[in-house]
Symmetry: C2
Subunit: 163 residues, 2 copies
């Protein structure tokens, strides 16, 4: 039995008490962009309930074209206006360099990715970089609030990154 099978059994329990369906647009008009890290249960960290916020996640919680795509769809078609960015302490992205990661992949499989791995060496600086990438995109046009935070995996607390 795989872990996937085990999680599907959990889903049967979840469905047995499920209360749905809710409307499609996020009722709190918020989109969150967070790291994929396993310790970030975004709904619990922010006290979100079903149907309230879009949640976008990737390695690092960084902003690339795909997050711009998701944010553009979120704002243009589904009415979100606030954006919350979440990086976190003890992040895997702090443990390697793009050059090193690509060289390792090339060594193992013979092919070097054309994309950037988006590693970073300073959490606050990368949150600021993510804010600037959103501010510089012409496609994210409805933003009324854009704030970035570092989640502390030791305390559970979000600490705001100031400009």
């Amino acid at each position: 039995m795989t872990v996937t099978d085990e999680l599907l059994a959990n889903n049967a329990d979840y469905a047995s008490t499920f209360d749905g369906p809710l409307p499609l647009p996020p009722s709190k008009h918020v989109a969150v962009v967070a790291c994929m890290d396993a310790r970030l249960d975004v709904y619990r960290i922010l006290g979100l309930h079903d149907g309230e916020a879009h949640v976008i996640r990737n390695a690092g919680g960084v902003i690339t074209d795909d997050e711009i795509r998701s944010l553009a769809i979120s704002q243009q078609l589904l009415g979100t206006t606030e954006i919350i960015l979440i990086h976190h302490t003890d992040c895997g992205m702090l443990t390697f360099t793009d050059d090193g990661f690509k060289a390792d992949l090339q060594k193992e499989i013979g092919v070097k990715p054309a994309w950037s791995a988006e590693s970073f060496s300073d959490l606050d600086d990368d949150v600021r970089q993510s804010i600037r990438r959103i501010e510089n995109s012409p496609f994210v046009t409805k933003t009324t609030s854009l704030r970035g935070f570092v989640f502390d995996v030791a305390t559970g607390r979000l600490n705001e990154v100031t400009a």
Copy 2:
């Protein structure tokens, strides 16, 4: 007061009973790729606990270069081997076309995105497409299980997409 302020107040509650820190690598060696939809509380849907799985999310739960980047980092550096893909019924991505979305953006702001919006017209087909994109990437090399599902927003149940 913004919604962001309200969610930060929730975070103070969360931190007051927080139990951490946990280790960085996902203890169940699983990565989930799911849609950003507000009704998908991925941890609850799969019965996941803190520290168990990477969670990657975007508009549609599709696979682009950024999800390949995240999966490559997840597998190469943090030891995940199983992948679970989650699309869902009543998805916003079913309600528009790439051409229409890009034309609307161009009309509003004068600039047409160079990226694809990744809309789709059939849920099961797009799950299969996502599976194929992962299978075709040279950078996701440690996969022992790769399965795709459609989450039913009316019942809470995950229905597997078969090849």
